[in-house]
Symmetry: C2
Subunit: 235 residues, 2 copies
DNA sequence: CGCGAACAAAAAGTCAGACTTATACGTCAC
DNA sequence: GTGACGTATAAGTCTGACTTTTTGTTCGCG
């Protein structure tokens, strides 16, 4: 999905990045460029490029005479889609899904409210189409088709909000929804109530009813959060 | 602040990055690595590392036989603190400040509500201390001192929420507050009502009153948004 | 005239090796 | 014990040669 390791340094990143985000190297660990280059069988130039990328994500810090030190997790650029993907593929996926869903709870209702004010006629049409698509795939184990429309739906809302910071969360939401569908075993069809809510959100946005769009979307994301709480313990 | 261009490639980034985010090169523009290396008087290796970083920020895409093409703005990683800083330093700073402040409006109230539930005694103490510091610097053109406490205040709330996605927005908020204070001419002392609200938020968090903390924080950020609307036109 | 295949050029990608520079750490004198 | 000094280390930088992919053109055939 999205960025398949372009070039040699990309392949190195796809192996080294997940290792780091998985906590395989505790904070403060020191890696040496030459050693890594040997391990991954690439030249130092390629390895250096990979390290530079990790550095720009604040996953590591490179200092002379010391080496490449792994930074503590609370300094990572956790909004970088690539970092998100690496972390969702790792061990503490459920904790990751939770914190991302809490973010959705804060952002998406507000975005939906703005969308009701700013959405173009075309966006309204697309939104309705997506909602109908969700309905069509809501029964009979058509999870993949449902997922596609679900992702598109939320992406349209975020885009239609007119706020670029919200819009850029489309990828994040997509990762979350995909992660939820693929990693947790979802043998059952989606919650019918959720499907209905999506249709109603599309209606509210089209009608320009901001407060209703916001309230309905809040129900949607809070439902998603509850679903997570049911499937995995603690709070 | 934070990352002063470490290494040669860092200096290149500090010059090239802002040029791109400023829209100096329209989307689709092609840059050639060798040409850039010559322009910035660095070797190709260094230039390649810089390009890799820009690529990881989704500012550019590097393809064989074609060159380094600038991506459209809606694909940029606008949550990368470095990108935020570059954009805030650029021309459409006020539009940028607006979209970031709207994000704050969505996130910070929810974070404050969570903080009321999760904050440790130490965090409560720090929060109160910050609020008092804001009061102390609220009169007599002590804007810099006020700013420091303001940033610390919001950072503590975001950290105390216990959600790492919220916590990582501390840097973003810091940039916004700093940008507001430094770039717009703020000859006047901060709004007394805002100062009072901060004190009340600290109280509500300490008391564990989530709904009150959320409502008060909403007033704070909505006030910040209105302040922006007053100083620069359009909606 | 249109279309597909072969070809050539251009730019990024990769590599190896030599050299430079900053800096942590150990040593030694005081 | 403390400070200055020297040294080893690992990142940083540069250069030049070579490879690979991809685009666009040209040429031949239908």
């Amino acid at each position: 999905m999205s960025t398949p390791g372009r070039g040699l340094h990309g392949h190195v990143l796809e192996r080294l990045g997940p290792s780091i985000t998985a906590g395989e190297y505790p904070p403060g660990s020191v890696l040496r460029t030459d050693e890594l280059a040997q391990r991954f069988e690439v030249s130092r130039s390629v390895m250096r490029e990979a390290v530079r990328v990790l550095e720009s994500m604040h996953l590591v810090e490179s200092r002379r005479r010391v080496g490449v030190t792994v930074r503590p997790a609370n300094e990572w650029n956790v909004y970088d889609p690539q970092v998100i993907r690496w972390r969702l593929a790792g061990a503490d996926r459920s904790r990751q899904l939770r914190s991302l869903t809490v973010l959705r709870c804060a952002v998406e209702p507000v975005a939906a409210g703005l969308a009701a004010k700013h959405a173009t006629a075309e966006q309204c049409a697309e939104l309705t189409e997506c909602a109908l698509g969700m309905v069509a795939h809501s029964r009979g184990h058509k999870l993949e088709g449902y997922l596609v429309h679900d992702i598109a739906f939320h992406r349209i809302v975020l885009n239609a909000s007119g706020n670029e910071m919200f819009a850029r969360l489309g990828d994040v939401v997509a990762e979350v929804l995909a992660g939820r569908t693929h990693h947790q075993v979802m043998f059952e069809d989606p919650d019918p109530a959720a499907v209905t809510l999506h249709v109603q959100v599309a209606e509210a946005v089209r009608a320009g009813d901001a407060v209703r769009a916001e309230a309905l979307t809040r129900e949607v994301v809070l439902g998603a959060l509850q679903e997570l709480d049911i499937l995995s313990p603690e709070g």
